[in-house]
Assembly symmetry: C2
Homo-oligomer: 553 residues x 2
């Protein structure tokens, strides 16, 4: 019997982590991709701007790639596209808003001629052997999709990021019927969003936040400043609705907020009465109680509009005691302290600030346990692959599927790069492909690795001491120095004695080498480094980076 | 009329922040202190180990200080004492366990002869004009106290850290009756713990966690590893109780865990059957289902026992799939990601791990809203000062007191260093004294300041480039170099072209200076720095620290 062709599913990102989502589906000579996102650097990736997936596997299989299908327009699903497009020319498929947002991003990267194809919910696109279908979902950005890929071995469904919202802002609810229909016909495998899987119950509807806004707006005495995610178009719409209800003008602040509303508005995703939006420069023409500002910075980002307002560094907006600030977001893990600081700064100015622990000014965009169970119940997949989550999330999601009756051996917790191979009846692990993190720092992509990060960490903890010596090329005698320069180590003016002692230690080490007729640079350098290191550790229990430099004349 | 003597209350720490608690009470020639704690460095305090309060005011008023009274033995209340004792010799008063823990700490700092005075709950101590009374409370460490200070203008009560626990592990509940009695007699001012003031309802009793332990222990197949705060003696006791109930031996892992249990046990605060505690080296003599390990590391601390276990770096303990790990703690804000990583690592090994989002394995040590209201209701203070909290906490606590009927003008949100002056009838702000953060890095106390931190931050983000040139003293000609050394900037082996170009840029800048007959070092250095900085920013959008060094021969 000829070897059976198998369908491969290979996550290149998003497994064992939140973000950097990218999934490969491969059958013979055809590959389709679902999403291509970035993630934010972890604490120890000092100085790194963003992290993108290693797509070596795609570069090697360039000729097979038929298209990249996008579930929605968030950075963790589209943010790596500009970097990948510099190496691969791929046609891209997505809903109108998703591609609208991507276009802005591509323009910023000077990537003009990209093959972008708008797909509507319910439509199917033929990509090689695959038929790709976009199914409406709800999420914290409009126009989000689950993706069903009809493959030669059966249909695969990837939920993308989603929540269940029976009263969404647009009125268009998630297409449960299509998911049920596919479920009845038989779905081979489901990949489902695990972000909120540890939270019991249901995520509240986006419209509940609108009610809170109306209550808060009703009692505000002067200006209202609302910080939220720029991409949460429905949230912004609800803030605008509340503003219009109370006869307030709306000012947008922060580059991404302005960009996002512009794109969403142009593409028909917003409903803003004429005259509601005003320019920030016209602010003085209105009283405080006629104004609402919508800003970025809900995560306490250092350069964001809200941060600048809180620290009195915003050129146009000075916070007044009668203003009301609303932070309409939850801190992403790791940002709690940054957000608390902003809140404290605002309160110190005597201004009231409403944030999540005080009122219901935010709901999540991701499904909680009961919603996830509903999707499992509708789709009834033969095989289940928890997606989008750290290992702990994937595990809880796997247990949920098992508790609902999926046989244990049909559930796969995958790692990035792992191949899962399907026939119509079976699924088996099948080796791994290259995957990983590519760090982007400034314009450099992948040129910051472990050595550079280790040095940055070392430098950040105890600073640096440079020791420079000029030696005679002929006899190896010191003719200038040793000079010692330090940065980030100790406040030198108040530690002159220590620095003098340090110089004497280096001198002694060099003299000792001279006596022993050591002229080899490597040995000299380690003699300097070792003697200085033990001196400093003994003296002050610090371990700065020591950089000996020898010049020869 | 002679000027009336006023009582001053001056917080030197703990206002507008969590931690670093220290409060001064001053009347004429007498000062008593309540607590003297440390705090952990904020993210931007790179390389800093701990932060202690600036006690310049106390050093200036040394002769007045009658004693330091401790509410309990947590680091944020006693951690700065060794540093302060090096400058001030103060008698210290506290309950038995509090002083027992302090003694261990003083020994580590080689501070032998300190005047420590054990006080029992209900006792009063005369310190100058003040009578200081220790009142039993509940908290996540035994022997915690509120402190009532009877002053010439009336009694002041400071709650310290507390919660209300009607079923505490020791059976001894908080002394509500004494607080009520003082409240009936008339309390001038209350300072109360604001840590959990944004949480509605009640904090659960410590004993509820014991029930969860029993349930989990009942179903564990092999070893149980529980990570918790070493100082939570009652938690450790409950783990030991559950272990004894199921016939398991207990191993302690982590230096602070061993220390804490030793001190608490010696002083009679624990109840451990003989033979329950075994040495880690005897672990192999028992089956997995006969063992419980209690470890440190519940906050994901890098060098802690749990972290080493999770990363397979512990010399004695290798995690097995049948083990059960329980993290009996909530991540302190800022530690969420570190804890999640540990959880993920453990799951990757196939080991089950129970943490807070999955089961009730932790309760807080601080009072929630209804408990705080109860204290306000019992004590009925004339003046109210929310304590122990960020500005946002203090504000909510102030609003709570106002809602319960304290006149707005009798509530004071203080900043560190602010003086609040009392007569029997009035309270008024009265200027400020020096206060602030002293950073401790290794053995250095206060020698790391803004300049050093700014350099560390700069170095951590884009690394460093050192440019060294040797020049002839006579004619200012370059006779060696420029040599370029970088660290934490870019992986040099893969960026040789960039480094060659960088060297050429520096050369050109130096040649230009030579042409212009510039020999002044400062000008030369800035020419090098500026040309290299703009080249690198244009080329790679990074901004490393550039350190030009000129050697003369």
């Amino acid at each position: 019997m000829a070897k059976q062709t198998k369908l491969k599913i290979i996550p290149l990102g998003g497994m064992g982590e939140i973000g950097k989502n990218i999934t490969v589906l491969e059958y013979k000579d055809d590959i389709v991709l679902i999403d291509c996102g970035m993630t934010f650097p972890e604490d120890e990736m000092l100085g790194v701007d963003i992290v993108i997936p290693d797509v070596t596997y795609l570069i090697k299989n360039k000729a097979k790639i038929r298209g990249l299908c996008l579930t929605h327009g968030h950075e963790d699903h589209i943010g790596a596209i500009p970097y990948v497009l510099k190496k691969l020319n791929i046609p891209i498929y997505g809903t109108k808003l998703t591609l609208g947002l991507l276009e802005t991003k591509l323009r910023e990267h000077n990537l003009g001629t990209v093959d972008l194809n708008v797909v509507r919910h319910g439509e199917q696109v033929k990509l090689g052997v695959f038929d790709v279908e976009f199914i409406r979902t709800s999420h914290s950005i409009p126009d989000s999709s689950a993706i069903a890929i009809h493959t030669p071995v059966g249909p695969i469904i990837h939920t993308g990021d989603f929540k269940i919202d029976f009263t969404p802002i647009t009125g268009e609810i998630m297409d449960f019927n299509r998911l049920a229909e596919l479920g009845s016909q038989g779905v081979l495998a489901l990949l489902s969003d695990s972000t909120n899987v540890t939270r019991p119950g249901y995520t509240m509807s986006e419209s509940t936040v609108g009610e809170t806004f109306k209550d808060l707006f009703a009692r505000a005495k002067s200006r209202i400043i609302v910080a939220t995610f720029a991409s949460n178009v429905h949230r912004v719409q609800q803030i605008i609705n509340a503003a219009e209800m109370y006869g307030r003008k709306v000012i947008l602040s922060g580059r991404s907020m302005v960009n996002m509303v512009t794109v969403a508005n142009e593409l028909g995703y917003m409903n803003i009465s004429e005259g509601t939006l005003i320019d920030i420069n016209d602010m003085d023409k209105y009283d405080g109680n006629e104004l609402v500002l919508i800003t970025t910075g809900s995560q306490g980002e250092p350069m964001s509009a809200l941060t600048r307002i809180a620290y009195s560094e915003h050129r146009k907006i000075e916070l007044m005691p009668d203003d009301l600030v609303i932070i309409s977001a939850t801190p992403i893990p790791g940002n709690e302290n940054a957000v608390s600081k902003i809140v404290n700064k605002i309160i110190e100015k005597g201004t009231e600030v409403i944030y999540e622990s005080l009122a219901e000014v935010h709901v999540s965009g991701h499904a909680c346990q009961e919603e996830l169970k509903m999707i499992l119940a509708l789709v009834k997949p033969k095989f289940f692959i928890p997606a989008h989550g750290e290992t702990r999330h994937l595990k809880v999601h796997a247990e949920m599927a098992a508790a609902m009756g999926t046989p244990q051996e049909n559930i796969f917790i995958l790692e990035n790069g792992q191949i899962l191979e399907f026939t119509k009846e079976t699924a088996n692990l099948g080796g791994t492909v290259q995957s990983g993190n590519i760090l982007v720092d400034g314009l450099g992509v992948g040129d910051v690795g472990n050595i550079v990060l280790r040095d940055r960490k070392h430098l950040s903890e105890d600073g640096l001491i440079v020791v420079v010596v000029t030696m005679n090329k002929q006899d190896g005698k010191v003719i200038s120095g040793p000079d010692i320069v330090s940065r980030g180590f100790v406040y030198v003016r108040e530690s002159e004695d220590l620095m003098v002692e340090a110089r004497n230690i280096v001198k002694a080490a060099l003299e000792d080498c001279e006596k022993k007729k050591i002229t080899d640079w490597a040995t000299l350098k380690s003699a300097v480094r070792d003697s200085l290191r033990s001196f400093l550790y003994e003296k002050i229990k610090r371990n700065p980076m020591i950089l000996p430099i020898i010049m020869e004349v």
